[in-house]
Structure formats: structure tokens, C-alpha cells
């Protein structure tokens, strides 16, 4: 069947599909579907980590290799600091900005270093919204239970409780800074329903929630005149020789020089791992999502948690080629968009959790019910025109301007035709193990946001990431500042690197690879 006939099938079956209420799967059905089709369960993609705090635990080969990689620093590097600060924040996305702003507000002398520009991050792309229990029929406890269920009961209870309870004050903080959340007629915050949630709980700024929050936070970082080092990538941490973190070595990407920063406390907020293209998946992530914090913290001796589980967002673009891997917002499914296979049938409740929906799409494609593009890729339909049918003409224009624009650039009108989607590597569910204030097991080393682990269990719910960034950005910023006030600057050594190198030698690691990756190597080697 050609692609036009395939399109027509989606249009022809729309009314019949609307009449059907597709049930969610039982816990047992979910488990068996995920075990069979979710990429987290492909044993051949995993191997044990050879040494370090998580020695013997399984993770994907791409991550294990990076964790065991060598520090790029020469052993005789001069550790004369160029900057000396109370709080060094590494990363300029949502968590980094929130951390820097709260630390600065508490009187800390802050340096915010980021390897691209301030705000270049995944945060800016978050379209779906931010989950906060503000509606009268909702509660933080309900938010806790939904998240736990989505995370397969593996979430860290303490982290999760503080996130859901801090949520409303975070919303207030953002409103005071001028973030324009969508409102109801009565002035209260408008809430939307997200996949895996029992209540409507998503605060949104049309489909630009992350962009709106980041425009405001970036502007505020500049207004507060927080010292900023853009194109400054953290490539190693510094220790006092007794196990505590005392700063970091950055690399100025403009001239490749190392920049030593003495810091009483360090907050790593460098985001996730999409650009490692785990298991060869395309990704929705930004250019710098290379898992740097995992490497830096691990070399320093901080254990990671749940580093064997990743989120493959159900709806990554498949066609046109320019949009392969790019995110198609979950909001489309929240507002009733159907997933449709090559036979014109629905095959999953679209509002089930992301791991369930992704697994079901992979199943459809592997069992021959996928749609193949001219470039040879497989996917299933997301019935976007259904939204205008269901909620009235103009719904897509009004609620999803970013997506309409994204496809229009390539001549695809999502108001008239459905789009093809397939799971895309989206999020690192686990990360560096932290406590409720974001501190790792290494003294004075904090981690906030996607780089940290435990909060989301084995599957993050839609809309919980933006909240995670704000809550733990704030908590690390405040705690690191309080800590810094009670500390004097410790010695700057690379003792942990020396130890790590000895361990690598003992375990005969000889990949020759240095890490962190900092940026992916996409540049073609032209002979």
C-alpha cells in the first residue's frame, strides 16, 4: 500500500476508532509487554561495569565504556585556580539556573559554567508541561502515588515526597518571576492530563512550557549578574585528597585551555545521555546531552543508581528525515490523539505510561503492522487531525503552535494529515545517587536534575522532569550555599584521578577512550 492510501486509511477509520474506549493494561500485562519489547530488556546491549562504586552492576555498553574512560587531564596539570567561589554550578539548563539563582539569593559567590550557551539544554524543549498538584480534586499524595506507579514502585520515597510537596511553592516562585502559565477563566492555573497520571496536573504555557520557563530563568540569571562562563565544559572534579569535592577543572572550548575553579561546593546539573545514542537509537536530546556528570561523579567515587534504565519517548519523528528522533509532544496524546497501526487500528491506551506505549509501538512494528517510509524507516501513525475533529477546528493551532510550525517547515500539515512516530531515546531514568538536598555520597558534591537518580524509578512520568529540575535545583542551591558558609576552601588535588587510573590498570581497561565526552563527534572525517 502506498503512503497516500495509508493516510486515507487513518482518515477512514477515524470515526470508528473514536467510538472505542481502549482499556489500560493490567499490571501483569504491562510487565510482560515491557519485558518482551522495551529496549531496557535487550540483554545483549548490557554489560557489567568493571570497577568503581558500581562494579559488577549492569548498564548499557555505551555508558559502561564512558564510566571506565580515562581523565583527559595530564598528571602534571597546574592546579592554580583562576576562579575561587562558594558554589560552582555546572550546567546552564533548568536545574543549573534554578540552583544558581537560589544560591545567589542566599548570598553565595556563584560561578555558573556551561559547555554551550546559558539555557542550551533539554529544558528549553520541554513541551508537555510541569506536573504540580494544584487542582482542588488533586493532592501531593496522589501525585506521589501516580509517580510511584509509573516508576514501577522503584522510586526513592524520600526524594519523591519532597518533590511533590515542594511543587506548589515552585509554581509560586515561577509566577513571581513572570512565567505565564495557562489559566482557567477564574484565574486559577489550568491543568492538563498527562500519560500515567490519575488527575489533570500538568501546568502548561501552550506547548512552550520549557521555553517560557527558560526564557525567564535565563533573563533572571543575567539580571542578577551571576558570573557566567559559557563554552566552559567541566572535564574533571577536584578533591581535597580526603574524599571531599573542592572544585573542578573546566575546559574553555574556544581555546581548549584548562580553567581551574576552586569551589567550596560543586553542583553538577549537566543533564542526560541522549547523545550517546544508546543501542543506536535516535534522540530527542540537545547537542550536549552526553552524560558528563555521571562520569565526573563516578570517578570521584559517587555511586550511581538505576543506571540500567532509560526512557524511550513513544513519539519521536520518523518522517520527514529532518525530524527523525525529534520529539512529538505527548500533549497530542493527552488531548486524545490516537496511535494507529498499518491496519488502521488502535493498539494501546495512548495515556498509558511511556514505557508501555513505547513497547507497544515496537511490538506493532516488529510484528509487521508498522508503516515504512521511503527512507526505509518504520513507525506508526499519530492521528493529529483527530484533535481538530474532537475539540473543534483550530485546536492544533491554539494548543500546539510549536508542533504545527515544526512540521510546516517541511511541508507537512498536521491539521490535515497524521504523522509517523517511533520511540526515541529521551531520558536517563537513573543517575548519580542523591539525598533529599541533592548531595551525593561525596562530601560537598551535589547533583540536580536529570543527572541525578532515584526519583523517577524505572520510568519517569510526563511532566515530572521540569518539576524535578526546579525542586532539586533549588534544594541543591540552598544547601550548597549553607554548607559553603561553614567551610574554608579545601586543597585542590587530583588524587582521585590517580586512584582511578590505578584501578583501570588493575582491571586492564585499555579502550584508550577519555571521558566525559562533552560533545558528540558528528563531524564527518573528510579525507
Amino acid at each position: 500500500m502506498d503512503i497516500i492510501a495509508q493516510h486515507n486509511l487513518v482518515h477512514q477509520t477515524r470515526d470508528a476508532r473514536r467510538a472505542i474506549d481502549f482499556p489500560k493494561l493490567s499490571p501483569a500485562e504491562r510487565d510482560s509487554l515491557i519485558k518482551k519489547y522495551h529496549p531496557d530488556h535487550r540483554a545483549q546491549a548490557y554489560r557489567p561495569i568493571k570497577f568503581g562504586p558500581n562494579a559488577g552492576e549492569l548498564t548499557v555498553t555505551e555508558v559502561a565504556t564512558l564510566l571506565e574512560g580515562d581523565s583527559p587531564l595530564p598528571a602534571d596539570l597546574s592546579l592554580e585556580p583562576k576562579y575561587s567561589v562558594d558554589v560552582l554550578v555546572v550546567g546552564g539548563g533548568g536545574a543549573g539556573c534554578a540552583a544558581a539563582l537560589h544560591a545567589h539569593a542566599e548570598g553565595a559567590n556563584v560561578l555558573l559554567a556551561t559547555k554551550l550557551r546559558l539555557g542550551d539544554s533539554n529544558s528549553v524543549m520541554a513541551q508537555g508541561g510541569m506536573q504540580i498538584a494544584v487542582a482542588p480534586d488533586d493532592s501531593p499524595v496522589q501525585h506521589f502515588l501516580d509517580t510511584l506507579k509509573g516508576g514501577h514502585m522503584k522510586n526513592d520515597h524520600d526524594l519523591l515526597k519532597v518533590m511533590v510537596e515542594d511543587g506548589p511553592t515552585i509554581a509560586q516562585w515561577l509566577l513571581e518571576l513572570g512565567v505565564l502559565f495557562d489559566r482557567q477563566e477564574d484565574g486559577n492555573l489550568h491543568v492538563k492530563k498527562g500519560g500515567g497520571s490519575s488527575k489533570a496536573r500538568l501546568l502548561t504555557c501552550s506547548d512552550y512550557t520549557g521555553l517560557e520557563i527558560m526564557r525567564v530563568l535565563k533573563d533572571e540569571v543575567l539580571n542578577q549578574k551571576i558570573p557566567l562562563l559559557e563554552f566552559g565544559a567541566a572535564v574533571e572534579l577536584l578533591s581535597d585528597g580526603k574524599g571531599a569535592c573542592t572544585g573542578a577543572v573546566l575546559q574553555d572550548l574556544d581555546n581548549k585551555r584548562y580553567v581551574v575553579v576552586a569551589a567550596k561546593t560543586v553542583i553538577l546539573a549537566t543533564g542526560g545521555i541522549g547523545r550517546l545514542h544508546i543501542q543506536g537509537f535516535p534522540t530527542s536530546n540537545h547537542f550536549g546531552a552526553t552524560g558528563d556528570a555521571l562520569v565526573l561523579a563516578y570517578r570521584m567515587g559517587a555511586p550511581l543508581v538505576q543506571i540500567d534504565t532509560f526512557q524511550y519517548h513513544p513519539s519521536g519523528g520518523v518522517y520527514p528525515e529532518q525530524l527523525v528522533g525529534a520529539l512529538v509532544t505527548e500533549g497530542i496524546r493527552s488531548e486524545g490523539g490516537h496511535l494507529v497501526n498499518a491496519n488502521g487500528e488502535r493498539f494501546v491506551n495512548e495515556l498509558d505510561t511511556r514505557d508501555v506505549v513505547s513497547s507497544s509501538i515496537i511490538k506493532e512494528c516488529e510484528e509487521g503492522r508498522g508503516i515504512r517510509t521511503a527512507a526505509g524507516r518504520l513507525g506508526v501513525w499519530l492521528d493529529t487531525p483527530l484533535l481538530d475533529v474532537e475539540h473543534g477546528p483550530g485546536t492544533l493551532d491554539k494548543h500546539f503552535p510549536a508542533m504545527v510550525r515544526q512540521y510546516e517547515r517541511y511541508g507537512v500539515d498536521i491539521r490535515k494529515d497524521p504523522v509517523l512516530i517511533y520511540p526515541t531515546l529521551h531520558y536517563q531514568n537513573g543517575g548519580v545517587k542523591i539525598g533529599v538536598n541533592g548531595e551525593t555520597s561525596v562530601a560537598n558534591l551535589f547533583v540536580a536534575g536529570e543527572a541525578s537518580g532515584g526519583l523517577h524509578g524505572r520510568n519517569r512520568l510526563m511532566g515530572n522532569s521540569l518539576l524535578d529540575l526546579m525542586v532539586f535545583g533549588k534544594r541543591t542551591g540552598l544547601t550548597a550555599t549553607a554548607r559553603a558558609k561553614s567551610l574554608s576552601q579545601g586543597a585542590l588535588t587530583l588524587d582521585h584521578v590517580t586512584k582511578f587510573r590505578a584501578e583501570a590498570k588493575r582491571h586492564q581497561v585499555s579502550s584508550g577512550l577519555t571521558s566525559p565526552m562533552v560533545l558528540p563527534a558528528y563531524t564527518r572525517q573528510v579525507s
Partner: protein, 239 residues
């Protein structure tokens, strides 16, 4: 049936080279052969150019990859985001360097009269000479010129609506003959709209109070002492 396409082997950012059809484009004035249909950003990588300044979210949201381009035989120089525009035969393009626009510094919460303060913070804003170059330069198709006037006339609500799509690429700024940085004016107006001219949501205030008054303590006590098994049952019972 095994999904041999999507079941990944080696992901490559230039996967479309498989399609083989090539086009000639000029990057910063120098010709290169690149696969037809790839984005300008991927064309940079394909041509062997490292991109550090200029790559950001790669999804059309961060404005890092603002670029100027011209299509074959057309004198008009247009703007785009390099991550979201496909190459075509005869196209010529260059990335926009960082532009030294002046951002006003303000404390958004302590503004006394935000609509009047605009003229202190951005005194050039009312000097717009209606050339419309900013609107033409916007890769997001925002009516930038009108937005600047809305800000000047104090209609901050309209500004915030119009600029919700703004990715802060800044391409409106170098073209302005009155030295206005329209995107920065818009951020100011939008933030002021949110912080000063929008009602406080009552429900949110109530929820914050409820949490601090311990309204949910009983629920927490009940939930948190459950065994893993009972907790699972409780969660599973929620629809």
C-alpha cells in the same frame, strides 16, 4: 518480522547519505557537496566542520543555530534555524555570530510602574521607524514590529501572546535601524505581564497553605508505613 531498520545498529547523524542524491551548497562562501534534504546543521557536519558555537537543542527551540541563507539566483537573504531547515541545490548559507545586543538589567519584582519603566530600561523602544526588517528577519514568523509597538503602547498581554514562540535567536536585532533589541523588549514585557498584571491563582495559595498546615500528614503517615506490596496495591487501585 524483525524490524531491521528501526532496531538499531549504528546510528549516524548522516543516515540520509544512503539516499545518495547530492546537492552543491555554499557554506560561508565555499562550495561543498552534501546529501540532498539534510538540515543545514547536518550539512555542516557532513562538510567536515566542527560546530560548537551554533549548536544547541537541535530541535528548533533554543535559537543557537540562527543562520542566513539565500536560494539559487534569488538575491533575497533569508533567516532560519539551521537545525530546522533543509538544504537545496545552489543554496548559500552562513551562521549568525553572537550579536552584542544590550540587555537592560532590572529587578522584575520591585518594578513600580512596569509600563512606564520600559522607557527607562529600553529608551530606544519607541523610536521604531516601521521599516519592518525585524518581522522579515524572524524565523518564527512573529510580527515583531507590531509586538514592539504593542509594548510601547503598554499592551503587554498582546506582547506575551505574540512572543510565546520566540526562541531568542536575536535575528531581529542586527537589522534594526533604531537599535532596538525586540526580543529583549518582549521578554521584559512578558515577564512584567506575568509578575504584575496577572491575578494570583487562589487555588495555588490554598494548596501551599494546606501543605504547610499539615493537611496531608495523615495520608502520608498511612501511605509511607505500608509494605511494598500494600503500597503497590494502593497505587494500582488508582485509575
Amino acid at each position: 518480522m524483525a524490524n531491521d531498520v528501526n532496531r538499531p545498529k549504528q546510528f549516524t547523524e548522516h543516515a540520509s547519505t544512503i539516499q545518495a542524491q547530492m546537492v552543491t551548497v555554499e557554506i560561508e562562501g565555499k562550495p561543498f557537496q552534501v546529501p540532498a534534504g539534510i538540515t543545514l546543521m547536518k550539512a555542516m557536519w557532513y562538510a567536515g566542520k566542527d560546530v560548537v558555537r551554533g549548536a544547541g537543542c537541535l530541535g528548533g527551540f533554543c535559537g543557537a543555530c540562527a543562520a542566513y541563507y539565500r536560494t539559487k539566483n534569488d538575491p533575497k537573504v533569508q533567516t532560519c534555524l539551521a537545525c530546522s531547515k533543509a538544504v537545496e541545490e545552489g543554496m548559500s548559507f552562513s551562521f549568525m555570530p553572537a550579536f552584542p545586543a544590550r540587555k537592560a538589567i532590572y529587578n522584575i519584582q520591585s518594578l513600580k510602574d512596569p509600563k512606564q519603566d520600559l522607557f527607562e530600561l529600553y529608551p530606544e523602544a519607541p523610536l521604531c521607524r516601521n521599516c519592518n526588517a525585524c518581522t522579515e528577519a524572524c524565523p518564527q514568523k512573529i510580527n515583531v514590529r507590531e509586538g514592539v509597538w504593542k509594548a510601547v503602547f503598554g499592551d503587554f498581554q498582546a506582547v506575551s501572546d505574540m512572543f510565546m514562540d520566540c526562541v531568542m535567536c536575536g535575528m531581529c536585532t542586527p537589522v534594526c535601524i533604531a537599535d532596538i533589541a525586540p526580543n529583549l523588549v518582549a521578554v521584559y514585557a512578558s515577564r512584567a505581564q506575568g509578575a504584575h498584571f496577572t491575578d494570583k491563582p487562589e487555588g495555588l495559595g490554598q494548596r501551599i497553605q494546606d501543605i504547610s498546615n499539615g493537611k496531608y500528614q495523615q495520608d502520608w503517615d498511612r501511605i509511607l508505613q505500608l509494605s511494598d506490596e500494600d503500597l503497590q496495591k494502593t497505587s494500582a487501585a488508582i485509575l
